[in-house]
Amino acid sequence: MKPYEYLEHTADVKFRAYGKSPDEMLSNAALALFNSMIDTATVQAKETWKVELSGPDLEQLAYDWLSELIFLFETEFAVFSTFDVVLHKNGDWSLQADIGGERIDHSRHAFDNEVKAVTLHEFEIKKNDFWCIQVVLDV
């Protein structure tokens, strides 16, 4: 199982991220999101940010999770490279995540793209052999 793959889209960035569990799928989706902006190998996990979210279903929670990461990226002026996601389902879904990253340093961080937002276009989660999420990002 590869963690994620990018698909062709004329104007935007489209990816599928995979996982043996929904937790792993959402970690990999976060990595795909940040790797579309920057080579995450150049990002050191010097600081940790915590995210807690809940939602009525996994799809909405996944949308909130990726949107929250863009919000953190822009308001903390930080890039992230490690995502430790733990999900709980108790009626509603909840998510707790530790995110590793560092403040943007333009001398070391070269950006390929700026992601504006996560779209709902063709947004879906499927479970076959693995969990799979498909996302189109507005760049």
Partner: protein, 473 residues
Amino acid sequence: MLNKIEDNIYELPLDYRPGMRVPGRVFVSEALLGMVEPGTIEQVANVASLPGIVKYSMAMPDAHLGYGFPIGGVAAFREDGGVISPGGVGFDINCGVRLLRSNLEAKTVQPLISVLVDALFEAVPSGVGATSRLHVSDKELTDAFIDGAKWAVGQGYGVEADLAHCEENGSMNGADPSQVSIKARKRGRPQLGTLGSGNHFLEIQRVDEIYDEVVAKRFGLFKGQITVMIHCGSRGAGHQICTDHLEVLSRAVHKYNIDIPDKQLACAPLGTPEAENYFGAMVCAANYAWANRHIIAHWTREVFEKYFPDGKLDLVYDVAHNVAKIEEHDVDGVRERLYVHRKGATRAFGPSRSEVPDVYRDVGQPVLIPGSMGTASYVLCGKDRAMEVTFGSACHGAGRIMSRSQAKRTFAGQDIKAALSAQGIKVKATHPAMLAEEAPQVYKPSNEVVDVVHNLGIATKVARLMPLGVSKG
């Protein structure tokens, strides 16, 4: 699947797919027809299935695959029974273009192009993670949401006369700051007065061709003149406002039992609280974008004044190309109030419309079509024919034909920069790698796109502007 109606007009028939409420109309030449991806046609059909859509789901000649609406998509919805959808506006609410004309000739400015581009790059923060030189308070941000460019002028950015040269006078009615989240404010505050990245740019240009002397004179344009074009939008504020309301409208779709073929087409019936709240927040972002372009124009003027003390930069016009607006249009002989969505499309009102500023009233509004990096931009003039054919709309640019990833595999940023330099175009960007994905070759030929609009008589060509220097994020 597309039937030719006349030259440059193709129809996607109503029976193309179940659920379509109106036919589609795609405005392309035969040459451009082959460049329209199948996915774009599906998106035209998706929009055609939304409740209350009037006449046609339209795609302008620069149409390409988007999310929700196609890019280049135009659709109007009845106030009674229609919907409003962020899928028809996009995340970058009121992404738009403004054109400043100078009293300087290219031969005077050209020797200083490198210095000017460097100075503009310094004066106008751009790129990922850039913060503004401005530090607005929360109260000031609210005022910018409500009053847009008018607020900026009150703060000393630009002059009163600029306002009449902006679509909506740079400040749209109906802003409701209570519908803007704390998150959107937090993203928006440090970014008011920043260019952004991607296809956004600040460009010094030379007028190299005049097609219509009379209208060019009215727009204050002459051959050999230096102009400056600014292309940017509502930054993180707009992106977050759209994200927040998309979630609310996704729930509204279930609440009001609306069948949508694409989740990004989440919407709510006009008149419901969900629709009104989204509209009020969208207007805040639109006004933020007008304030943003106003501030950037002010800093651009400061740079020019430093190098050319007798130089003057006056605003020709400022247009929005991602927005939903309440407009009156004739539908089968009856005047109706419609919510017109333009996603990657420019308003192109002709002389008959009172919205066109007095100074341009006898000719029609300026329609600004930015080129891709290194290619020509065009100034057109809106015509009354547009009111009959496209709800007063035209294209917004060249339109992508190659994905960003494919562009990066095909081109190297440094090569693009060198090629542009060989053409005498100076480019300054935060990260050269980003230049590859904006290479001129990844877009449709802009002259062909503009010719469709011209030949249809929606908006006619006035002038062509060639880039001399570009500052990018």
